[in-house]
C-alpha cells in the first residue's frame, strides 16, 4: 500500500548509469518497502471488511501524507461503493481503491507542451530547497532530447552560489546560461528572453530564488517577475511551474494555494519521489486545486525526471 516510488535507490555516490527503465528501478525498490508496509498493515488485503479494516486503510493513507480530510473522503467513497456493489472481501475492494485514485489523479496527467511559442518561456517557482534548480537541469536535457534548443536564466540572484549551481547544469547540458553581475531576478529573466529571441532558442527555463509564502515581499517580487516577463513577451510566461518536495506534508497545500493565487500556476513538479516519502499530499491537492503535474523527480541525476503518469503512479501506489 502506498509504497510507491520506494526503491533501493541508485546511490548518488554511484556513477550515473544510463536509465535502466525507471519503473523497473522503482519497482525493485518498492518490493522491500511494500513488504515493510504490509507488515505494518497486518495484511490489509486480508481479513474482513469492517470498520477496523477501513480505519487501517485510512491510517495508511494518512501515513502517505494524503491528509485526514482527503483520506476520509476517499474512504467514504469506497465504503459507499462497497455497499453498492455488495463487496465484502478486502481483495475485491482493491480495484475500486485503484479506480478512485486514478479517477482523482488522471486529470492531472497533462504533458508539458513546449512548441506553441518561440521562445517558450517557463518560470520555476517554489519554496526553499524544493528542487527548482536541479529540475531545470534535468528538464533541459529532456527538452533537448526532444530536439528543442534550450536557454537557462539564472533568476536566483539571492542564494549563495545559486548562479554557479545553474551554470553547472548549463555546462552539463551544454546550453547557454544567462546571468548578470548585478540586477534583480526580473532583469536577468528579461535579458534571457531577449537573448533567446536573438538566438532563435526554443525554450527558456527561468530559475528563481526559493521563497516561503509568508515572505510577502518575496511573493510581491515574484509577481513582478511575472509582469516583467509579460512585458518582454505579451504571451508569456507560457508556463509557471511550482516545484514541490515530495517530503512535504500538509503545507504543500498551502504552497499550492499561495503560489497559485499569486501567479496562476500552470503546472506542478513533484521532486524527491525516490526517497521514502510518498508524496500523497498530491491527492489532497488534486481534490482542491487540480493543477496538472507535469513531471516527477526521482533522483539527482540528469535522467531522473519523468512525465507524470497517473496510472503508473497509482499502480506503484497500491500494488
Amino acid at each position: 500500500m502506498f509504497g510507491f516510488f520506494k526503491k533501493s535507490p541508485v546511490s548518488k555516490a554511484a556513477a550515473p548509469e544510463v536509465s535502466a527503465g525507471w519503473m523497473a528501478r522503482l519497482r525493485s525498490g518498492l518490493r522491500s518497502s511494500r513488504q515493510k508496509l504490509q507488515q505494518g498493515l497486518g495484511g490489509l488485503f486480508g481479513g474482513r471488511l469492517d470498520d477496523a479494516w477501513f480505519e487501517t486503510l485510512e491510517e495508511a493513507l494518512i501515513s502517505a501524507d494524503v491528509g485526514s480530510k482527503a483520506s476520509a473522503a476517499l474512504i467514504a467513497e469506497l465504503k459507499q461503493e462497497a455497499r453498492h456493489q455488495h463487496i465484502d472481501k478486502p481483495e475485491d475492494l482493491k480495484p475500486l481503491l485503484k479506480k478512485a485514485l486514478v479517477h482523482l489523479l488522471a486529470p492531472l496527467e497533462c504533458p508539458l507542451a513546449s512548441n506553441e511559442h518561440r521562445p517558450h518561456i517557463i518560470l520555476f517557482v517554489g519554496v526553499n530547497g524544493a528542487g527548482k534548480t536541479t529540475t531545470i537541469g534535468k528538464l533541459a536535457q529532456h527538452l533537448m532530447q526532444q530536439g528543442h534548443s534550450v536557454l537557462l536564466a539564472a533568476g536566483d540572484t539571492f542564494r549563495a552560489a545559486a548562479v554557479a549551481q545553474l551554470a553547472a547544469w548549463g555546462q552539463r547540458n551544454n546550453v547557454p546560461v544567462i546571468t548578470q553581475e548585478k540586477g534583480d531576478s526580473a532583469a536577468v529573466i528579461f535579458d534571457a528572453i531577449q537573448a533567446a529571441r536573438a538566438r532563435g532558442i526554443d525554450v527558456v527555463l527561468a530559475d528563481t530564488a526559493g521563497r516561503l509564502p509568508t515572505q510577502l515581499h518575496l511573493m510581491e517580487e515574484i509577481r513582478k517577475v511575472k509582469r516583467v516577463v509579460t512585458k518582454a513577451d505579451a504571451t508569456a510566461p507560457h508556463e509557471i511551474l511550482l516545484v514541490l518536495d515530495a517530503n512535504t506534508g500538509q503545507n504543500a497545500l498551502a504552497q499550492v494555494r499561495a503560489f497559485d493565487d499569486a501567479l496562476g500556476l500552470t503546472g506542478l513538479i513533484v521532486t524527491k519521489l525516490d526517497g521514502t516519502a510518498r508524496g500523497g499530499v498530491v491527492a489532497a491537492i488534486a481534490g482542491e486545486r487540480p493543477i496538472p503535474i507535469r513531471f516527477i523527480g526521482v533522483g539527482e541525476a540528469l535522467e531522473d525526471l519523468h512525465p507524470f503518469n497517473a496510472s503508473e503512479f497509482v499502480d506503484a501506489l497500491i500494488e
Binding site: 494518512i62 530547497g129 517530503n247
Partner: protein
Amino acid sequence: MLDNLTERLSGVIKTLRGQARLSESNIQDALREVRLALLEADVALPVVKDFIQEVREQALGQAVLSSLTPGQAFIGVVHQSLTKLMGEQGAGLNLATQPPAVILMAGLQGSGKTTSSGKLAKLLKEQLKKKVLLVSCDVYRPAAIEQLHVLAQSLGVDWFPSEAGQVPESIAAAALDHARRHFYDVLIVDTAGRLAIDEEMMREIQQLHRTLNPVETLFVVDAMQGQDAVNTARAFGEALPLTGVILTKLDGDARGGAALSVRHVTGKPVKFIGVGEKLTGLEPFHPERMASRILGMGDVLSLIEEAHRTVDRAEAEKLAHKIKKGQGFDLEDFKAQIAQMKKAGGLGAMMDKLPSQLTRGLQSNPSVDDRSLARIEGIINSMTPAERRNPELLKASRKRRIAAGAGVQVQEVNRLLSQFEQMQKMMKMLSRGGLGKMMRGMKGLMPGLQ
C-alpha cells in the same frame, strides 16, 4: 476547513461545560479533535497515537479548577504534555572537548545543512568568540562547495578548500588535520544531502563520523516535512549517534509537526531553529512555543491567563460567539475589544504573548501606539448606538458630527472606519484560521494605527 485546535475544540468543549472532572467519556471527542489537529500539523501517525495515549492518562480524573472551563483545562493538559514531549529548552552546543570541536551536519537533500553551517559559524564566531573553520564534503551537488565558500567569505570565517573530484573522507581528514595544526576551536563539516535509504551514502556519512569523531552530530530537518519524518529520523538516528536537531524554515507557515516526530523517534533535543535564509536567522529552541505552534494556538495559555485576569468572561464569550459566527462584529464590539486590550496592558503586551515568528515583522514598527487606541475609543463614543451597530449609516454629515464630537478631523473618522473594516476581515480570519492568520492580518493593520 478547521485548522486550529482551539477552533476545533470549541464545539466539543461545549459538551464539557459544567462537568467537574475530565472523564474517559467526556474527553473522547476532544481527543479525536486533538488527533486530527496533530495530523494536520504533520505529526507522524505513530507519534500521534502515543501522544493521545499520554494525554488521556494525564487528563483522566483531573479536577477542573473553578476558574477554568473544562475545555480550557483540557487544552492545558494537551499543551503541557506536548511541551514536555518537545524536550528541554536551550540545549546549546556542546563544545566541551579537546579542540577542535567538530560539528557534523547531516540530513536530507535541501533541508538546510549548508545554510545552517553558515549560521552556526556566525554564532560561534560572534557570540562565543571561537576560531571557526568551515569545510564542505559535498562533492556531488553542483556548486555546493562554492555555496559554503561564499557564506564563509561573507562571514569572514576561514574555509578549508575542497573540490568535486575528491573523496569526502579525505577532505574530512585533511580539514581535521588542518584545524588541529592551526588551533581552531571548532570545525564545522557540511555534507551532501542524502536519502536514508541510499545505503552507500549512509555508509559514507558513517565513515565521515568515524574519521571526524564529532562532538556534535546535528540532524537538519525541514519544518515542512510530513509523515515520513519518522522514517528518515529513525534511519539517520540508527546510522549515526546524533546529538541534536536543527529545525529549519520555521519562518514559513508550516505547523512543524515534524519537530515532534523527530524528537520522539531520536530522543535528541532540538538545539536550534532556522527562521530565515539569512545567516542571522538562527534562534534557540523554545519547546513551549513549538507546542503552541503545532497546536495552532499561539501562546494560548498565557492568553488564557491574561484573559482571566482582565477580561469579563461573559463579555468575552459573547464576543467569541459573534466572531465564531463570522458575522456581526460591529463598532460596539470593536470598542469593547479596545477597552480589553487596554486592560490587558495594551497592544505591546498582547504581542509579547504570541510566538516570535508571528510578530517578527511588528517589532521593527515603532508606530504601534496605545494612545491611538484612546482616540479610537473617543470617536466611537461619539456615535449613536445605531451607528455602532450599523456603520453603513455613516454618511458624510454624520461623520462630520462624530468628528466634531470627538474633536478630530473627518479623515480620522474615515481612517478608523477602514481600520474597522480590516479588523472585521481579521475577525473572519480568526474564526476560520486562528490566531496565526489573525496575526498575519494584523501586520497589514499596524501602520494604519498611528
